[in-house]
C-alpha cells in the first residue's frame, strides 16, 4: 500500500524527541513524521519506548529534548488538555468509558451540549443523541445512542471511544491496543472504524501487538526497540516476519 499524502505537510513531526527519567534514558531521540490520512503502526516489545513516546505526544509529560511540530507549528504540551486542544486524541486501552451511561452520554462526556434557561443550563439530550447518531453513522457503526455502554460489545465500545475523537475533529488519533481484548468479529469492526477515520483524513497511530491487525490497516509500520526507532517502512516493503525479527532484535535495523 502506498502512503497517500507523502508530498503534503506532515500533521505530526517529531525531531529528536528524547526522554530521560533521572539517569535512565527511556528514549535517546526519535524522529518521526505522520501525514494526514495515514495509518501508522507503532510496534515494539514491552519496554521498547512506545508508550513513553505516545505519552509525550499526548502531553502526559514533556520530552527532555527535541521538538514536536503539529500542523507545521512547534507545540509544547504541559497537560493532556493542551494536546487535545490542538487536535490530538488518545483512545486508551481501557477505553475510559462510563459503563452506567448511554453511548451518547459517553461521546459527550465533559463536553455536554446544553440548553440555557436564564441562569440554568440543562442537558440537551435530543441534540446530543442526534449528533452521536450522526457520528456513529459516519463510522458506519450501528451503535444506538440510547443504549447503555455496559450492554455493548467490545467493538461497539470502541466505536463510542472513536466517536469521541470525531466530536472534537481530532487530526491525529492514537489508539492503544484497541484490538487486544475483543473477539475476532469485533476486531473486524474496529479495523473498519480505523478505515473510516482514514477516509476522513485523520492520521492514526495504532499501537498494537497483533501483527495481522497492523498489516491489515496500516500504511506504514514503525518498530521501536530499546527506545530507538529501528525501522520505519511502508507496509508493502516489509513482511510480518521482518517486523517480528526487528521487534525481538534478531534483526538490528531495516
Amino acid at each position: 500500500m502506498v502512503t497517500p499524502h507523502v508530498a503534503g505537510q506532515p500533521v505530526l513531526e517529531l525531531k529528536g524527541i528524547g526522554k530521560e527519567f533521572g539517569a535512565i534514558r527511556a528514549l535517546p531521540g526519535v524522529d518521526m513524521r505522520i501525514f494526514p490520512g495515514e495509518v501508522v503502526g507503532l510496534m515494539g516489545d514491552n519496554g521498547a519506548g512506545k508508550s513513553t513516546l505516545v505519552k509525550i505526544i499526548a502531553g502526559n509529560f514533556p520530552p527532555s529534548h527535541g521538538e514536536i511540530r503539529f500542523d507545521g507549528k512547534a507545540v509544547h504540551f504541559a497537560r493532556p488538555i493542551d494536546a487535545r486542544a490542538v487536535g490530538i486524541e488518545v483512545v486508551y486501552q481501557d477505553l475510559a468509558l462510563a459503563d452506567n451511561l448511554t453511548a451518547a452520554a459517553n461521546v459527550f462526556l465533559g463536553r455536554e451540549l446544553k440548553r440555557k434557561f436564564g441562569p440554568f443550563a440543562f442537558l440537551d439530550h435530543k441534540a446530543m443523541a442526534a449528533r452521536a447518531l450522526e457520528l456513529f453513522g459516519e463510522l458506519r457503526s450501528e451503535t444506538r445512542p440510547h443504549d447503555l455502554v455496559k450492554q455493548m460489545s467490545g467493538g461497539q465500545r470502541q466505536a463510542v471511544a472513536i466517536a469521541r475523537t470525531r466530536l472534537s475533529n481530532a487530526k491525529l488519533v492514537m489508539m492503544d491496543e484497541p484490538t487486544a481484548a475483543i473477539s475476532v468479529r469485533q476486531v473486524e469492526q474496529v479495523l473498519s472504524l480505523i478505515h473510516r477515520l482514514k477516509e476522513q483524513g485523520v492520521a492514526v497511530v495504532l499501537i498494537s501487538h497483533r501483527m495481522p491487525d497492523v498489516f491489515a490497516v496500516c500504511d506504514r509500520v514503525v518498530v521501536m526497540r530499546r527506545g530507538e526507532k529501528r525501522a520505519d517502512k511502508a507496509i508493502g516493503d516489509t513482511s510480518p516476519e521482518e517486523v517480528t525479527s526487528l521487534i525481538t532484535g534478531a534483526k538490528e535495523a531495516a
Binding site: M1, Y92, N100, L101, L109, G110, R111, R185, S192, A216
Partner: protein
Amino acid sequence: MMKKELGLCLLLVVISAITGAINPAFLSLVNLLNMANLIGLFGVFALGVGLVIITGGIDLSVGSMFALLGVVFVDLLTTYQIYWPFALLLVLLGGLALGGIQGFLITRLKMQPFIVTLCGLLIYRGAARYYTSDSTRGFGYGDEASTLSNIASGNIAGIPNTFVFLIILALILGVLLHRSVYGRWLYAVGKNEEAARFSGINTDIVIATAYIISGGLAGVSTVLFVFYTNSVSPSSFGNFYELYAIAAAVLGGCSLRGGEGSILGIVLGTALLQVLQNLVNILGIPNSLNFAVMGTVILLGVLADQQLQSRRRRKMALAGLARTAPKSTLVQGKQSASPRGAAALPTSMGDQA
C-alpha cells in the same frame, strides 16, 4: 432505570394495602399524615447521603451532625437570643462547612470516605456532648423562634411542612441529578472516575460538591428535627440516622459501588422504611423487632433486585448475541465493497482463521 422505581412503588402499595386490610387504622388520615411527616424528616438528609453514595462514597456523619448543629442551634436561639433567620443561616452554613471539610479531606488529601465520615461521626458527637456537658438542650417556655417553629413543624392544608420541604428539595435535586451537566458528571465519576478525568471533568470538585450538598441538607434536617423533638439530647439526638439514610438510598436503587440511583428511588426508599416502622406498631408486632423487620426487608429487597437484574442481563446478552451475529457479516460485506478494505482485510482474515 425506571423499572426499579416502579417495582418499589408497587411494593409500597402492596405492603400498605395488606397492612390496611389487617388494621384499617393504618390508612386513617391521622396515621398517613404522621407518616408523611416522618418521611419528610428522614427523606431530606437521605437525598444528600444518596448523592454521596452515587459518587461511590459514603456519608456516615449526618446523624452526629444533627447533634452538633442541633445543640448549637438551640443555644443560639435560647442562650444568645439571636434573631432566628441568622441562627438558621448559621446552622445551614455550619452543615455546608462540615460537608466541605469532609469533601476536602476525601478529594484533596485522598482519604477514604468511610474513614473520613466515620471520624466525623465520632468527632461531631463528642463535640456536641462536650459543648453541652452532656446535658439536654431545649426551648424554654418563651416563644423563641415561634415563626420558624411554625414553618418547620406546621402544615399546609393538613400536609406536614416537612413533607412539602422534601418534595420541593427532591424536585430541585431531581433536576440537578437527572437534567443538569453536574448530575451527568456525578454518575460518570461514580462509575469510572478515571474515565471522567480523562474526559476533562474536574472529578475532585464534583465529588466534594456532593459532600457539601449532603452537609447542607443535614443542616436543613437539623432544624426540622429540632422543632420536631423540641429538645436536643446530645448523646442520642440523631443516633443511627445516617444508617436510615443509607438504607433508604440502597433500598431505592443506589449501588454502594457508585454510579447508580435516582432521587425518586431515594424518596421511595425512605417512604418504604417509614411504612415498615409504622406497620410494626400498627400490627402489634413487638416494638423490639422494629430493626429486625427493617433489616429483613432490606436484605430481601436487595437480593430480589440483584436476581432480577442478573436475569435481565442474561436475557440482554442473549438478545445482543442474536443481534450482533448477522450485523458483523453486514459490516464485512460493506468493507469488501470498498477497494482499500478489500485489499486490506483478507490478510487479517487469513491470519485469524
